[in-house]
């Protein structure tokens, strides 16, 4: 139910955005976000973008995970 999938905004038109989810393209409501930009990643839950995905934060988390690989 709380399933959310990251997708890239391809186009914005009014309150709706066209979002690329893997190989699919879906129409998503942007009403729960304060604006949005083409090229940004958002988390899509049941037809709505519920939050932005911060690419820098994703990279930092992966780096933190990778730190163990280097230690071991």
């Amino acid at each position: 139910m709380c399933l959310g999938v990251p997708g890239k905004i391809l186009e914005i038109s009014g309150d709706m955005a066209t979002v690329e989810l893997g190989k699919a393209t879906v129409q998503v409501s942007m009403q729960l976000l304060d604006g949005g930009t083409v090229g940004e990643y958002v988390i899509v839950h049941a037809g709505f973008a519920i939050e932005r995905l911060d690419i820098d934060a994703a990279r930092k988390t992966l780096e933190a995970m990778d730190a163990f690989g280097e230690l071991s």
């Binding site: 139910m1 890239k8 976000l33 304060d34 709505f48």
Partner: protein
Amino acid sequence: MKYIDEFKDLVRGSGILKEIVRLATFKVSFMEICGSHTHVICKSGLRALLPDNINLISGPGCPVCVTSQPEIDAIIDFADSNKDVIITTFGDMLRVPGSSSTLEQVRARATDVRVIYSPLGALSIARQSPQKEVVLLSVGFETTAPLIASVLQTAQAEGITNLTVYPLHKLTPPAMAVLLDSKDMRIDGFICPGHVTAIIGADAYGFIAKDYKRPCVVTGFEPLDALFAIYMLLLQIKEGRADIENEYKRVVSGTGNARARAIMDHVFEPSDALWRGLGSIPMSGLSLRDDYMGFSAAKRFGIDITKYTDSSKGTLDCRCADVLRGVINPAQCPLFATACTPTAPQGPCMVSDEGACAAWYTYERTAVAL
């Protein structure tokens, strides 16, 4: 897919796992609150990889599962006796066993029950069929409630009068407090729900660290997110800390999505709610505010929940209530994988993909003695 596959990488995972094995010199029980976490933990086989002294408990995080039996019975009866209404709901609701029927069986008896992927679907149907009453049976936690609120705001702005909602929403932090107060078990740390927290913000769990001295890690939904969260929880315990940490910083902030919360607060107000397994919890549900009472299905159709009693205790030996509290794991229920299977579910936890019993049945049966 980008920002998914990287968090499934086996090599990356083996480094984290080694560190978990090194840290896990003591016995701990961690609870994952979200049904999506239950699903990913089972599907990825994490339980079999972890040291035996780390016990992962599934919590009350499947919205369909925590919906109380009286509410299930009330909506099934309503659907069965209103053949001229279009009922819209999420797919998981269809096969939840009521005391005498399911929504799927009601549909077979000619009620127009439609599965929607998004609440926007209910809005579209209401626009397309202005002569019909459209009822949205909405379940879900803080992740989903703002969506329903947004749809009702749109409906109000457009003057749509043939759409009503029967809200069965639940709020997460009050349920966590009930679990922590429970004498049934000890939870040493929480794997906190990433998408609920995207809305409410990580700061919402402050009371768990402060009052209960238990660590919390807000966690994403890929296998390595769960693995890394387990490492972060272990490290906190090892260092004697009980902090709110955030593994899912790529999506979740401390304060959450203020706009989504404002929309939710505009339409709904907190109210007491009845949970399967946990009973009545003060201010753990959402009711429509006066300005939106025109969208109340209960009011328009006179659905009276007080007519229904909680008969779930008498349903065979179904132990969903205990599974939801984390008191037993699914395999400890006498019906698991015998009388109760995904094709013949006896309780909601075997129906939903996010239910602990369904996830254990699909992915964990090799790990348990049957």
